[in-house]
Symmetry: C2
């Protein structure tokens, strides 16, 4: 089936899936999880074919590792599905309720969005994560992964479809694209008739391609140029601990720090100290001229550096005049993801929180906390860096919309 036909089928399926009880949705997800473990051999066989083809095509070792599935990874995927299953039902929550002046009774109720298109790269676990999150929130989904992981994704989706069928739910609730052409994918991204929302997951190149080509509403996720600003009054030990965590605990993720800003009044002592610590952690530093005067190993950075998401053991270290210059820097070069101020001064904190328009603002804590699990949302489908619909970590509730139910006794206007 071509991608538009898959989307049309998912749209049709969404009419029944959005009304399934939480009990049935949970039952399907439990059987999906058990099925993954039971069918691990089949999935690993399919994955082996993907892997050998990818290797023959010259895929890098790092990418091959992302593509690879083994027993323990499949167990983890199943565990993730069970975690989603156990989350609170995001549907049919009464968000507001009131009697209007006219006498009618109004309820605002959470409901499914409809068809969610997920466009991702080669990690097959995304298939199971997204299928579980979309289904638990009453949505149907069309999954379009990279060609190189098709067999692995198909083996996973087959398990989900078996769980759906076993519970008398249409298997069209979860659709996997069958290696569509570039043109087919482009048409899919414009197909407002059948697709309600597109979520691209992966590199910023992928995300921008979707944003630029879609006519279906898109939620942009991921791009994170996160900052930490160390204010004049900061506790140096606390700042050091936060910076090491934000930069080094997992440099490849979007909530990792890319740029450290330091108040000029403390730069003379703090900057050489932190540069030494970063060197010990193998971090390469790009600085502004003031930094380079204090740190001999620092390379001279420029605007291109300040606007780069390194996703690696590389960082910018920029000395600024005060909190206002820090705010200007962040508003100019940041991606409105997660930004932190380390300070003991309440006024500086307030200026920072007021002046910066990012999804997550931190005071004296690592930006690495920007995460659905950490925020208590359960699993997350991504971290939104846009402002419409959802911002920051997106969990099940962010995969719902709402509608109004109005009950009367013959009222007219």
């Amino acid at each position: 089936m071509d991608l538009i036909s898959l989307a049309a089928a998912a749209k049709k399926a969404s009419r029944s899936v959005r009304t399934l009880t939480n009990e049935i949705r949970s039952k399907v997800l439990r059987e999906f999880a058990y099925g993954l473990v039971e069918n691990a051999d089949t999935i690993i066989e399919a994955n082996a074919l993907d892997l050998s083809e990818a290797e023959a095509n010259g895929m890098s070792k790092a990418m091959l590792d992302r593509l690879m599935l083994n027993q323990s990874r499949i167990d983890q995927i199943a565990e993730g599905v069970l975690q989603v299953e156990q989350l609170e039902d995001p549907l049919n929550r009464v968000l507001e309720e009131r009697v209007l002046a006219s006498g009618v009774h109004l309820k605002k109720i959470s409901s499914a969005i409809g068809v969610i298109g997920i466009i991702f790269e080669s990690r097959p676990n995304v298939t199971a994560d997204c299928a579980a999150l979309c289904f638990k929130s009453g949505n149907t989904c069309v999954l379009k992964g990279g060609k190189e992981s098709y067999r692995s994704c198909k083996a996973i989706v087959d398990v989900m479809k078996a769980a759906l069928i076993k519970n008398d739910v249409t298997p069209d609730a979860v659709m996997l694209a069958e290696k569509p052409s570039h043109e087919e994918t482009a048409e899919f991204m414009k197909c407002r008739e059948y697709v309600d929302l597109l979520i691209p997951r992966g590199s910023s190149r992928l995300i921008q391609a979707v944003v630029q080509n879609a006519k279906v509403p898109v939620i942009e996720t991921g791009a994170g140029i996160c900052h930490t600003f160390v204010d004049e009054s900061a506790d140096f030990e606390m700042a050091k601990k936060i910076i090491i965590n934000a930069k080094c605990s997992r440099p490849s993720v979007c909530n990792a720090m890319e740029t450290l800003l330091v108040h000029e009044k403390i730069a003379g002592t703090f900057v050489p100290m932190i540069a030494e610590v970063m060197k010990e952690h193998g971090v390469l530093i790009y600085g502004n001229p003031e930094t380079c005067k204090l740190v001999s190993e620092a390379r001279e950075g420029n605007e291109t550096n300040w606007a780069t998401e390194y996703d690696d053991l590389i960082m910018n270290l920029v000395i600024v005049k005060d909190v206002n210059e820090a705010i200007d820097h962040i508003e100019t070069y940041g991606t409105h993801h997660s930004d932190c101020i380390v300070t003991e001064n309440e006024e500086s904190k307030e200026a920072f929180f007021r002046g910066i328009d990012s999804a997550c603002l931190y005071h004296n804590a690592s930006t690495r906390f920007t995460d659905g699990f950490e925020f208590g949302l359960g699993a997350e489908i991504g971290i939104s860096t846009q402002k419409l619909h959802a911002r920051g970590p997106m969990g099940l509730r962010e995969l719902t919309t709402y509608l109004y139910q109005i009950e009367g006794k013959g009222e007219i206007r």
Copy 2:
């Protein structure tokens, strides 16, 4: 200034406007309202020039009436601004608050979206409404109206800018496009760098043009093919009252009924009765074959009729087998705006509420209630017929987003 430069200036202005206190925002809006009344003569003069030019260009009487401003209409516009001013501040509301497992304290707080682009046709009052709603919600706006109302809109925006300047707020908070070219408008709709949200207001042709050409997120508003289904067990008098109200009280608005669906079991008595009532109200009826057998004056309708928003004293009258066929009809031909069931049967109501995915579902009340004022939102900027971000009537809260503020004592992950 070209439209992109206006948007860039609005973006810059949004950094300070989003942090203004509610007191200042209210003060500006009060002075805007008083200024409109004080400068009514100037506005009427500007409007007279627009009117004479439009008349010379052959504008229809109905359109000229929409364009026309007089003292009483300006008083109404000022009154509307004061109503917006008095609404609860939508910013800085604590939406959620909790201590996370890591010990950090998280607050989810409502905040401004940024720059809102409003694309509308020739009604100059939209200028004042949108300027007031955007400013009250901490957003800056770029208003692009029809060329034929430019002088009137400019006179209104000049009053707003004077009120801003008087309160030391940047006049760039409200920007009016200066008769931009088609190409300039197209570029504006793609300008994600400076524009956070586009709201088209007007005909469905205008709205679709924006949806199809924009890369900036759009909120679709307005298109309403609303249905009323009269079930087997309906109270006929109640149904009659609701139908007259839904169709005839203001046929040109989006929440007016376009299609009446009637259960076949009661069609024999109800359909001729309601057809007679509709005839008295001057309503032309398109029916399906079953209807045409019962109503001699009904014209034979088809799928094109079922999918038409008449905005006029014309309606479809379709006899259906049961509530499920009614649901199928609505899901097939509706626009997910507002749909009503008239029934005394709880099961039918539940099937209808479960089966229909519209912004507003009514039981025994007129669809005409779908409106920001009626819903208690205060003024509205439009009625969203899409599912992302906001659905149904959009008031001040729907013009905000949120961000997370996280405070710690040196916590790391």
